[in-house]
Amino acid sequence: MFVRSIRRLATEASTSTLPSATTFNIAKPPQYTLASLRSFPSLEPHSFIPLPASFFDAPLRRDFLWSAVVFEADASRVGSGSVPTKGDKPFSNRKIQPQKGSGRARVGDRNSPIRDNGLKAFGRKAPVDWSTNLPRKIYNRAIQTAFSQQYRDGKLFIIGAGEQSEATTGKLSETDSTIVDFKYGYEEATKQFVECHKMEKLHLLFVTDDLRENLLNSTEYIADKADVVPKEALQVRDILKANRIFIEAPALQWLIGKHSN
């Protein structure tokens, strides 16, 4: 007797009816996470705000961070590297030896890139545009990942006036404000701020909603350790480089609005 075997495609799906006993274990992921609203420069917390979990509880995806940092570094290249080529004519146009009779190969002038003279056949000429492309959604995910990681590590300080907080009810300390700025633009303000919060060896990042002149002037003496960045110019590598981030609430709202997918 023959057993008839029917050949089927390996990718063909079985078409039997579905058992309906089990259901999927569906649950709702967290929507929000909480952060303290603080005043500056005391960093005194006075209120809570809900932040979107997609922005501040995103899992650590190093691939997004890597892509974004490379994208930013490429875009920041000046591209001034310039290589001498034959067209620059650094040498004379004189024919080196007669065309015939020398017993050697034919040669032209000294400007040929096949001679040992440092010239390149297809050298790059300044300005070179090294900027690369990155999908906007990938860059947004990188911003979200960077903020989430700093938030999880407790390095993110949000400065602002919340509802029913001391700032809005007028109980705020005289020396405090709800924006990231000092009362005066002297070095001493930053010195006291850094010393008081024990941040001498840390890299600081101040993200402001607007131009803060006092902050800029005051932090100038530790310019290599403190970045003052308006919200429009914030980059992923700024966020990753910082050990402490002080960001104004309106700037944060703007960034969330811009970098949500």
Binding site: F24, N25, P29, P30, L34, Q253, W254
Partner: protein, 132 residues
Amino acid sequence: MPVVKKAIKTVYLDTIPHVVKPFEFPALSSIKASDLPNNGFGNKNYYIPKTKFGHWPVYLRIQNTKITTEIKRLKGDLIQFKSDLLESVPGLEARHISVNQQTGNVNVKGDLVDILKEVFTQKVKSEKLNEK
């Protein structure tokens, strides 16, 4: 009546500049404890978000002769999802399902797009959960 012929001019309109709409913090009183992290999500449970056009995130992936079904953007416990899927789809074997927990992708061998969409529609009972 004489027909008045009007010359049609090309009119160039300025495009509307893109203005970033800032995120509005919701009122604290509107936030429930179940909305916050540590609400038990990801512990033997998971979430299948629908796309913005209301479809299940199930796609056919063709790489020359290798045909797989890809489920994307899953969140939570994907190992649990895999075992639930094995129970729900008869004939499916564990070695046919590969799970990437970091990216939230699940790949199933073969073209199961229609079957998986049907399974999702049947098994995901609480439809309200899947609304954005």
